[in-house]
């Protein structure tokens, strides 16, 4: 029996919770620059101007094309206008993939998974620890917390 020839989708799996999703890009750019620039095709259009806002990411993240926004006229859509959604990142301390849910990670100049926050809790300002709450951190005090890993 031959296995169907399928490309394994890129799946992001949070290391601290069961959350997973097939992501589109793991990138430091919010806008997908690998795609052909639409400017080439639209530069004759005088109404087109440079986008008034640009978003620069400070970390490398797992991105999903925003599933809550409709794409109409697929062929015409300007790729730079496709909004994306950040679903996860890599902990700057332990390098594990974590989702952006407050139960799992937080960003404070860099990404920290809650496990590492728990480990270095004295390093963080009071405001952050208050926001997370003791409850969230408690479960990480036990070092043997099960890693969530799916094959």
């Amino acid at each position: 029996m031959t296995e169907p020839d399928v490309v394994e989708p890129k799946v992001f799996q949070c290391s601290l919770c069961p959350f997973y999703a097939a992501y589109d890009r793991y990138d430091t750019k919010y806008i997908d620059e690998s795609l052909p620039s639409p400017v080439a095709t639209t530069q004759y259009n005088k109404n087109k101007k440079e986008p008034s806002l640009t978003i620069a990411l400070i970390e490398k993240v797992y991105l999903l094309r925003d599933p809550f926004v409709a794409i109409k006229d697929k062929d015409k859509i300007d790729q730079t206008k496709l909004s994306s959604l950040v679903i996860g990142s890599t902990c700057s301390v332990c390098s594990r993939p974590v989702c952006i849910h407050l139960d799992c990670s937080l960003f404070y100049t860099r990404r920290f998974c809650l496990k590492c926050v728990s480990k270095y809790r004295d390093e963080f300002p009071r405001e952050i620890l208050d926001e997370i709450g003791d409850k969230r951190l408690e479960k990480f005090i036990n070092e043997d917390y099960d890693q969530y890993e799916e094959s």
């Binding site: 029996m1 031959t2 296995e3 169907p4 399928v6 394994e8 989708p9 799946v11 069961p18 959350f19 997973y20 999703a21 097939a22 919010y30 101007k49 440079e50 986008p51 008034s52 806002l53 640009t54 978003i55 620069a56 990411l57 400070i58 970390e59 999903l64 925003d66 599933p67 809550f68 926004v69 409709a70 794409i71 109409k72 006229d73 859509i77 300007d78 206008k81 496709l82 909004s83 959604l85 950040v86 679903i87 990142s89 301390v93 989702c99 952006i100 849910h101 937080l106 960003f107 404070y108 100049t109 860099r110 990404r111 270095y120 390093e123 963080f124 300002p125 009071r126 405001e127 799916e150």
Partner: protein, 1193 residues
């Protein structure tokens, strides 16, 4: 909240100052500059007042606020910009409420302090929490002068100072952050919910099994999530071509929506559906939900289903006809396509059956998520059930309602669902329950069954007021098809009415049965979907145990004609060898094959597909409807037949007379055709098109006539589908093809499309809101009256759903064309109507009934009719003739003779028969969808056997209706035209069907001839219909069949003497259907010798076709005529068919037609030795005889 650090602000400021300097250089002096020293956040600053300016300058056309919406509705802000300003409003409020303004500065060096290990800032600042930064484009800040549409320079009063700009930037940042996190939360929540479903724990197991196994069965109870989650698992596992079948179309659509949301594909086409009339499938679609019928259609063109790499067959336990069929096909297909994976999904019912069927395939059992349900057995006491005649006793049901009222406080929510067997029962219990409800004001009683209008059906989903419970009284439709949440109490009558098919009488039968244990459990389960529940069973536990374990699968209850036709057209030679999950009765297969042979869909010789059969197999309809369509094309009456055939294949659009008040009937009256129901349906549709093209509100029009408008829309869709199919096969030519839309029309079209889109989203919103019921909603009679009140009519506003349907209709159909066509059909004369009748008969024959001679034709009295196999059938109450039975009055004539057996014979040219679509037995055998047709013409054109006496004055059709002519000469004339018409018709059919398989250039050559033949046939047919010869008709009872034939000893022919064989010779089989001289001449004491003389007497006769003068006896004459006709039909030089066109395949057509008719002595179908196991004998039988013989066992 945030506070910008001072030094940074300065830097920003200086940048901006430089910018401003540049501005000043470029532009004329601007309004007075804002003061330089501003607080970083100014709570009093009114952002919202500059909304339009800010939106246009900074927000529009950016990635956060996607652009496409802006193009469409430039002047109404897209929702996400709306969203942003709501956020700004909250921000503003937040800033204003802060008791003290934020600390503007912290010490600069504190800012530098970092923690020792991680090197993160010790002093918390909100901005450190953002994993991105937003920059505002320079060109935007520099503010290139902008101009409005008239060329006037726009002066930016609203321009922001640099400080405010920085603040605005950070607001955008917070919004972006907030937005990202909100959306992530939604996905996260979705994943959590998915993980909480019981099926989630089996994901890995299922995917593992799938790696090694070709077929797996997932058995999971209600609520385990299998229908939504399995397709998602497959998609995530990388399957690309996933087909999921569902027995119901509604389920396909709602599952596709749900799964696309759950797989985060709501806005692309990865998940789609395809059902009859509707599909959302594109190239990029990876999961497609479809009805089983659609998959079967696809199998016809792609027998290996190469479009898919995995099939998910849901609800296999329901055992629908198509489900079983698909399973059988899959069983064959998996050996052929080793790479194809199959997942069967069922409730935990009869798992072993399916697993065994697929060589013990692995079973993954998933527990359901049902709350606890308490079961109470409350068998109906004997005195209550004994007293019942046919009416249901409502007392037990009321007792339970009372019990609930006493036991549960009305503040405890929870509705009730009662399962009854049928409409009459629902009516009975509903009346009683309603009067109880009226008294205590704690219940709203609602019926639920398929005969209700869709709107009425939807009411069961609405919310009752506080303290009031819904009491839904339903048929078994609520068992699987309709799922209502919030049900807490179930009353199960333990009864179900089930349709079965009786092949002997060709009759559907609707009978009441005990339900199966499986369905009792299913009914019970309906109480535990949203919380713990109680199930009252109106039978004892003992009864429950005696119920059969599973319900009878559909394949054992319905006629198998269409199914077998499909099987054969897929290349299966012997349907008896099909690997059924559970085989149906072999007799029902045999009788279905026999019926298909009668309909000429299968060859009588070897049960192979005939050309018309292969055409019929391609049409997604019943064989009889399919035949009508084909003949409609041949006789060029396509439009009216398309409408009638569509109307006859769906539920009647008329509410039953019982549900209508007298005024409604009066309004309906002008549309009721004296010809019968198919014509009434045509009238309604045409009238409706008229009203619609007048621009009136058709909904009101329909309501006032007791017509369910949705069904008319369905007819339109079906009509269109049929038409497309006919066009696909070149059976009908689209003369309007060339008609192009004008620019104006295009614009109109586009406008309608936009309107439709807007309405749809409006409707989506509407349907998401819960509707509330009022106590008055309790009875249907009330609501019916409401809608008929004149006052309400003026107030009536078109509902969104109506608007949607209306626009959809106008988008797809060209209303003016439809109107023209209906005008045509309204101007039909009696000739056209008779033609239409004969076309309908081509599909409906032999569903014929003859009136009983003692009928009185008065309203409110049952009129009796007889079919060949079932006597004393009556008209269904929905039939128009029930209202005007006098339309069926038999003809009277001056001359009535009394035949030898003392029966009156009425000679007339106006005898009629009733042709019907369905024979249905409930409490009586009813014929439904009835029309009257001219008797002789119908029989002579469609009977499969026509047997005559020696001078054609006595003709027996299909061995049950006898036609007697007074005059032998007229009789011979009729026989001649009958032969001509049938020959021409068969030839034309053959030519038309042959044309279908030809390439275009050949088609061009042969088509003109087809047209000519068509023309000839129409003319001759019209003549035949106008035929005014008088005849008598009577029913021949089967007992009489022994004496009606001339004595013959066919069986013992071998050992008989010469005398016998000479008699045998006299009875001559002219062709497939016509046998000459096998009937006794008359019941008079005619001697053997006069009969003998009559049939052997030779006379001189000039053949009208070949002009030859020959000496023939009657048998030879007819045989010669038959042959000569055929050759002249195929030959252009002959008088009846003059044409200069050359014909291709002429000889082959001729030979194929004449093989059946050439020799008078040899029987037509070839016989072969057949050994019957039951009677241990070997016969010489044709295959049709084999089937007949088997049916006798």
């Amino acid at each position: 909240m945030s506070h910008t650090k001072k030094h940074k602000r300065h830097r920003h400021h200086s940048d901006d100052e430089r910018d401003e300097d540049e501005h000043r250089k470029q532009h004329r002096p601007k309004p007075i500059e804002q003061p330089i020293e501003e607080p970083a956040i100014d709570p009093s600053f009114d952002w919202l007042s500059r909304r339009d300016y800010l939106t246009e300058t900074y927000l529009i056309d950016t990635v956060m606020f996607s652009s496409y919406i802006v193009f469409i509705c430039l002047y109404s802000s897209p929702t996400n910009i709306e969203d942003f300003w709501k956020f700004v409003q909250k921000y503003q409020l937040f800033q204003q409420r802060r008791k003290q303004p934020p600390k503007s500065t912290t010490s600069p060096d504190a800012d530098q302090q970092q923690s020792s290990i991680l090197n993160i800032p010790i002093v918390y600042e909100k901005k450190y929490r953002l994993n991105f930064s937003i920059a505002i484009n320079k060109s935007t800040i520099q503010n290139v002068p902008r101009y409005d549409m008239t060329g006037q320079k726009i002066i930016d009063h609203d321009r922001l100072s640099p400080t405010r700009l920085t603040e605005f930037k950070s607001i955008i940042e917070y919004y972006f952050d907030f937005n990202q996190k909100e959306k992530f939360k939604r996905i996260h929540k979705l994943r959590q919910d998915q993980n909480n479903l019981p099926i989630a724990n089996h994901r890995r197991e299922i995917l593992e099994e799938l790696k090694t196994q070709q077929v797996i069965l997932i058995a999971g109870d209600t609520g385990c999530g299998k229908s939504t989650q399995i397709p998602r698992f497959l998609l995530e596992a990388g399957f690309d071509k996933i087909a999921c079948t569902q027995p119901r179309r509604i389920a396909c659509i709602s599952l596709a929506k749900r799964v696309s949301y759950e797989t985060l594909n709501e806005y692309d086409n990865q998940v789609g559906y395809q059902v009859r009339f509707e599909k959302t499938r594109e190239k990029s679609t990876r999961i497609i939900f479809m009805t089983e019928g659609i998959l079967l259609r696809q199998l016809q063109t792609d027998s290996s289903l190469s479009d898919y790499d995995i099939l998910v067959i849901d609800e296999v336990h329901e055992r629908h006809l198509f489900t079983d069929f698909i399973l059988g096909i899959i069983k064959c297909l998996i050996t052929q396509r080793r790479d194809l994976k199959v997942i069967l999904m069922s409730a935990t019912i009869n798992i072993e059956l399916f697993s065994k069927y697929f060589d013990n395939c692995p079973v993954v059992k998933v527990p359901g998520r049902l709350y606890k349900i308490q079961v109470n057995y409350l068998p109906i006491k004997v005195e209550e059930s004994a007293g019942k005649t046919s009416k249901i006793d409502a007392k037990p049901y009321l007792r339970i309602m009372e019990q609930i009222d006493n036991k549960y406080p009305s503040s405890d929510r929870g509705d009730m669902l009662i399962f009854l067997s049928g409409l009459a029962e629902i009516q009975g219990v509903m009346e009683a329950a309603q009067s109880y409800a009226q008294e205590n004001q704690r219940w709203i009683v609602l019926p639920l069954h398929s005969a209700l209008s869709l709107e009425e059906q939807d009411k069961v989903f609405d919310m009752p007021p506080e303290g009031v419970r819904k009491c839904i009284i339903s048929t078994n439709i609520a068992e699987t098809s309709v799922t209502i949440d919030g049900v807490r109490f179930i009353i199960d009558s333990g009864k179900v009415k089930e349709m079965s098919y009786d092949g002997k009488y060709k009759m559907q039968r609707l009978q009441e049965f005990n339900i199966s244990r499986a369905s009792a459990e299913q009914r019970k389960g309906r109480a535990g979907r949203t919380g713990p529940g109680v199930c009252f069973r109106l039978y004892s536990e003992q009864d429950y145990i005696t119920f059969q374990e599973y319900s009878t699968p559909e394949i054992r209850r319905v006629p198998l004609d269409s199914l077998l036709l499909q099987m054969i057209s897929m290349g299966l030679k012997d349907p008896r060898k099909f690997p059924f999950v559970e085989a149906p009765d072999m007799t029902s297969i045999d009788s279905a094959l026999l019926r298909l042979q009668e309909q000429a869909a299968l060859s009588t010789i070897d049960c192979s597909l005939t050309p018309i059969g292969s055409m019929l197999a391609r049409l997604p309809v019943d064989v009889s409807i399919g035949k009508m369509l084909i003949f409609a094309c041949i006789f060029q009456y396509v439009n009216p037949i398309l409408i009638m055939a569509s109307a006859l294949s769906i539920q009647s659009p008329f509410l039953s007379f019982l549900q209508c008040d007298p005024e409604t009937i009066t309004r309906r009256r002008p549309m009721m055709s004296t010809h019968g129901d198919p014509f009434t349906l045509l009238n309604v549709f045409d009238e409706w098109i008229y009203v619609k093209s007048d621009g009136q509100v058709t909904r009101t029009w329909c309501k006032r006539r007791g017509v369910e408008e949705q069904r008319l829309y369905d007819i339109t869709k079906l009509r269109r589908q049929f038409q497309d199919i006919l066009r696909d096969y070149n059976l009908e030519i689209d003369y309007q093809q060339v008609k192009r839309r004008t620019t104006l029309e295009k614009r109109e079209h586009w406008k309608k499309k936009q309107q439709l889109k807007d309405l749809r989203s409006e409707h989506d919103k509407e349907s998401k809101q819960r509707k509330f019921l009022k106590l008055e909603d309790s009875s249907i009679t009330n609501t019916m009256n409401d809608d008929h009140g004149e006052n309400n009519l003026t107030k009536e506003v078109m509902k969104t759903t109506d608007k949607i349907r209306d626009i959809e209709f106008r988008l797809i159909n060209d209303l003016s064309t439809l109107k023209d066509m209906s005008t045509d059909s309204q101007n039909y004369r009696s000739k056209d109507i008779n033609m239409l009748k004969l076309i309908l008969c081509s599909g409906l024959y032999p569903q014929v009934a003859i009136a009983d001679e003692f009928n009185n034709y008065k309203r409110d009295c049952d009129q009796f009719f007889h079919t060949k196999t079932k006597q004393f059938v009556v008209l269904h109450p929905t039939c128009v003739f029930t209202y005007d039975p006098d339309n069926l009055l038999p003809p009277t004539s001056a001359k009535t003779t009394t035949s030898s057996n003392n029966k009156k014979q009425v000679f007339s040219n106006r005898h009629e028969l009733l042709v019907y679509v369905t024979l249905l037995e409930t409490n009586k055998p009813y014929i439904m969808n009835v029309m009257r047709t001219p008797a002789m013409q119908t029989l002579f054109l469609y009977a499969s056997t026509i047997e005559t006496n020696n001078d054609f004055t006595r003709i027996l059709c299909d061995q049950w209706l006898e036609i007697t002519f007074e005059n032998a000469e007229t009789a011979q004339g009729v026989i001649s035209s009958l032969l001509l018409l049938r020959n021409a018709r068969d030839l034309l059919l053959q030519m038309t069907l042959q044309d279908l398989n030809k390439s275009i250039d050949v088609e061009l050559l042969s088509k003109p001839r087809t047209y000519q033949l068509q023309h000839l046939l129409s003319m001759k047919m019209a003549d035949f219909l106008e035929n005014s010869c008088v005849y008598a008709i009577r029913r021949v009872l089967s007992a009489e069949l022994d004496t009606i034939y001339r004595p013959q000893n066919v069986e013992n022919a071998d050992d008989d003497d010469d005398n016998d064989s000479s008699i045998r010779k006299e009875s001559t089989k002219i062709n497939e259907y016509l046998t000459y001289n096998c009937l006794r001449s008359n019941d008079d004491q005619e001697s053997f010798w006069s009969e003998y003389a009559g049939s052997t007497m030779q006379i001189h006769w000039v053949c009208p076709y070949c002009n030859e003068d020959i000496l023939v006896n009657p048998a030879e004459r007819v045989a010669h005529e038959n042959q000569c006709q055929l050759s002249s039909l195929c030959n252009n030089e002959n008088p009846i068919f003059k044409s200069a066109q050359s014909t291709i395949n002429k000889s082959s057509l001729l030979s194929s037609l004449t093989t059946g008719a050439s020799t008078s002595a040899t029987p037509v179908p070839s016989t072969k030795d057949y050994h019957c196991d039951t009677c241990q004998q070997t016969f010489k039988f044709t295959s049709i005889e084999i089937l007949r013989h088997r049916a006798t066992h």
